[in-house]
């Protein structure tokens, strides 16, 4: 068991608001930032992160062993861990959960994360019901055999998709399990009034003694952030689930009393422009480099009230492998023009820039548009619903340029490889894929595979260096123009207690529900 904040007082209830509906609380399916951390509080995986950090640590597993070839992982499970329905969790449940998430019938958006487990392809193709690489050694021991060494495997064991579910409850509720979640987490599900409220209650049997601190969390749903902020200011709610509305940001930050309740932190996010490398004129690296030099990132950051820092590479600063030395492309209009001329476009060209239609993305797109216009590139903006932008990006002839904002990559887990595979690797450059710049460099794919086969934790620094090199190479080819890394600003009520980093926890957005507490309980 891990250390618990000694100042924390048990008890109390808090209220958090969200604008959007909670889609589902099924760990195999939930895949948006909002239900991501809610699920984390209801369910547990074999691995987890230390609160407020990106440091891995065992969770449902007491310990683990990695074979020297990096292809076999054996986990020892914690004993006496109980599901919310009272039954004890065993290795069979872990295996069942993984079989379930990879089974195509589950339609899990996370099935692809388990590609390295032996037998995955058979299950994915519907030819097998069970992963041959997962073996229950005894009720408290489970063994994973992989087809290749996978350095990210421990992270994979920490993501929601591998969280453990009880078979009997899944079968009882079928497709509606997401509305009746039963896990082993710190909180148990209490109430769901569709469209209004989701309520979690403390799990009194939680294996981690002393956690959680709160008795109850109510998530209120469907309220405009600007109104939610009003309620926060009146003390009706405790945490603003959504971001502080831009229209109110300055008002909040200008008031010292309110500003004191805002916690700022980084997040594993990069906002970037993709350029379709298979489409002229972006098939020319010089053109892509020119675009990189044409963007005035400081101005864009200013537009969003300085709620981000300019970026020069795909990885965000808090990610291992981030290259502090890397200078990237400077903002240099003359140089950009020169490059364009070299590429045979002295007068620029016409193109399209896709962006998602929620504020501030159309604004950012317009700023980009003006920057491009300054070097002669006339980009018309297509500001569309998220689904339409994704569809255009997944079509080889769909979108020449896309501003990623609103759909941008927030890492699934804090590992540099997470920024590569689907969005920059060859695997993603397929119809319907997420590699919107259609950048496919076989060399780099090989290098990435090589880096990911370094499983030994002792060699993680070496592995990070390899990834830095990969991203450095990518930046030479410039399929992206990284623009900024968003900062998080979480606003809370005065009664909320706990370390600041719990409120900007990189894997729990907006806050780490398990570890925060309120100060006004006796």
């Amino acid at each position: 068991e891990h250390a618990v904040d000694p100042n924390a007082k048990p008890g109390g209830a808090i209220t958090i608001t969200y604008k959007d509906d909670v889609a589902t609380l099924d760990p195999a399916i939930g895949y948006d930032w909002q239900n991501w951390s809610m699920i984390k509080s209801l369910f547990d995986g074999l691995m987890d992160y230390e609160p407020g950090t990106t440091n891995l640590r065992p969770d449902l597993a007491e310990s683990y062993e990695i074979a020297p070839d990096g292809k076999t992982f054996t986990f020892k499970l914690r004993q006496g861990v109980k599901f919310h329905n009272g039954r004890e969790m065993t290795a069979d449940d872990v295996k069942y959960s993984l079989d379930r998430v990879t089974n195509p019938k589950t339609q899990s958006p996370g099935a692809g994360f388990f590609g390295s487990i032996k037998g995955h392809d058979e299950v994915a193709a519907g030819k097998a019901e069970s992963l041959s690489g997962v073996t229950v050694v005894d009720p408290y021991t489970i063994k994973f055999e992989l087809t290749r060494p996978d350095a990210t495997f421990l992270h994979v064991m920490a993501i929601n998709f591998s969280h453990v579910v009880p078979k009997e409850e899944v079968e009882k509720y079928g497709a509606d399990f997401g509305k009746h979640p039963v896990g082993t987490g710190a909180f148990k599900f209490a109430e769901w009034t569709l469209g209004q409220r989701v309520v979690f209650e403390r799990n009194p049997d939680y294996w981690h003694k002393g956690l959680p601190h709160l008795d109850k969390i109510s998530f209120e749903i469907g309220q405009e952030p600007i109104v939610a902020l009003l309620r926060l200011q009146k003390g009706e709610i405790d945490v603003l689930g959504d971001v502080i509305p831009p229209a109110k940001f300055q008002e909040v930050m200008a008031d010292p009393e309110q500003k004191a309740r805002v916690v700022e932190g980084g997040q594993l996010h990069t906002g970037y422009i993709t350029m379709n490398t298979t489409m002229a004129p972006f098939d020319n690296a010089k053109v892509r480099q020119a675009v990189n030099m044409a963007i005035n990132k400081d101005r864009i950051v200013q537009l969003i009230n300085n709620r981000a820092v300019p970026a020069n590479q795909p990885l965000p600063p808090s990610m291992p492998g981030y290259d502090k030395e890397f200078k990237g492309y400077p903002y240099d209009v003359a140089k950009a023009k020169a490059l364009l001329a070299e590429a045979g476009h002295p007068d620029g060209f016409d193109t399209q820039l896709f962006a998602m239609n929620t504020d501030p993305n159309p604004r950012i797109a317009q700023a980009i548009q003006q920057d491009l216009a300054a070097v002669g590139i006339k980009a018309s903006i297509q500001s569309l619903a998220q689904a339409n932008v994704i569809a255009a990006g997944g079509d080889k002839a769909g979108a020449p340029m896309i501003w990623s904002g609103g759909m941008a990559w927030i890492a699934d887990f804090p590992d540099p490889s997470n920024f590569y595979g689907p969005i920059l690797g060859c695997a993603g450059a397929v119809p319907g894929g997420w590699n919107w710049s259609w950048y496919c460099n076989k060399d780099l794919d090989a290098k990435a595979a090589e880096a990911d086969s370094i499983v030994d934790p002792a060699k993680s620094a070496e592995r990070a260096r390899m990834w830095s090199a990969i991203y450095g190479k990518i930046m030479e080819d410039a399929p992206w123009a990284p623009v900024f890394n968003e900062q998080r600003f979480t606003m809370k009520s005065t009664r909320m207690g706990g370390a600041d980093n719990l409120y900007v926890d990189p894997v729990h957005i907006p806050i780490n529900y398990d570890n925060v507490y309120v100060t006004d309980v006796q």
Binding site: A124, G178, L194, I221, Q223, E224, A385, A392
Partner: protein, 306 residues
């Protein structure tokens, strides 16, 4: 009456069929692939195709539509792509709130709009008339988001008379209904004024005056029922227009209605929900029109149910 209703019901079913076919076709043509969204970013093309097959989205259009209709018969609107729950359940859980808001809003619009129109018509050409008509335009031209937030600031935050959003008691209902009502009131005020002016010119109004009736009786008993007829028809039409405003108002006030559901579904191209909401709204509209047509003969005995 029963025969009339029977005929109208058959007509309505045909209309709903038409609505479902057209919506289904439009959504089919939409340039967004729901399967990619379901499958997630790490999915292989095989997985995507697999899911497509499971959802039956690889079938030709008419087969898909046919399947949809068949399950529709058993009240099954399918499962949401994003939320993964029964659309029927989602809609049923949110419908009461929207209906309540609609009733509240209609009452507000009628109360405000009809009064304004009536007063304007009776005081035609005076400053009162002009002021009221300008006010009706302000109501129609101001975005509901702004109206809603303004009301919220003044009456909930500053004065504290009403809660800041939410759902449950009648006090929660007041501000959202008012916000929606202000827009509609503009329309009703104009319609009412126009039709009232017309009625005031009729011979029977002169008869009523010749009888020495009080002004109130003349206006409310003689003019109003005649003038309100076109307005009744308008209520049926209105329900369709509601869907637009309901989205904004529900989200400002945290009102758990189908407007929010529809909005999120549109953003994410959650086709089963869009279909479901469209059908339910179409049903409401058809019902509203039926109701308006059925009520009309009670107000004007000359109208026969045809």
């Amino acid at each position: 009456m029963i025969a009339y209703l029977g005929r109208r019901v058959i007509q309505s079913v045909l209309i709903l069929l038409g609505v479902s076919l057209i919506t289904f076709a439009l959504l089919y043509l939409l340039p967004a692939d729901p399967v990619r969204q379901i499958a997630g970013r790490s999915a292989t093309p095989e997985t995507v195709e697999n899911i497509r097959r499971q959802l039956g989205l690889d079938q030709p259009f008419f087969i898909q539509y046919w399947h949809y209709l068949i399950s529709l018969l058993s009240g099954d609107l399918g499962r949401s792509y994003i939320q993964r729950s029964e659309v029927t359940e989602l809609i049923i859980s949110r419908l009461p709130a929207s209906l309540l808001l609609m009733v509240g809003a209609i009452l507000c619009e009628l109360a405000i709009g009809l009064t304004m129109g009536l007063v304007a018509a009776v005081r035609r050409g005076t400053a009162t008339d002009q002021t009221l008509m300008v006010a009706s335009f302000v109501g129609v031209s101001t975005p509901q988001f702004v109206v809603g937030l303004l009301l919220l600031y003044v009456f909930a935050v500053q004065l504290g008379w009403f809660p800041i959003g939410g759902y449950g008691t009648w006090r929660h209902l007041v501000l959202p209904s008012l916000t929606m009502g202000i827009l509609g009131a503009g329309w009703y005020a104009r319609m009412m004024r126009s039709s009232m002016i017309d009625v005031l010119r009729q011979d029977y109004m002169r008869t009523a005056r010749a009888k020495g009736l009080a002004r109130g009786a003349i206006i409310f008993r003689h003019a109003l029922p005649n003038a309100i007829l076109p307005v009744i028809a308008m209520i049926g039409i209105d329900i369709g227009i509601f869907m637009g405003g309901i989205v904004v108002v529900e989200s400002v006030f945290g009102w758990p209605g189908i407007g929010q559901l529809a909005w999120q579904a549109i953003q994410r191209v959650d086709i089963p929900i869009i279909m479901g909401v469209t059908l339910v709204s179409a049903f409401a509209i058809v019902l509203g029109n039926l109701l308006a047509d059925t009520v009309a003969p009670f107000i004007d005995p000359r109208i026969k149910l045809r």
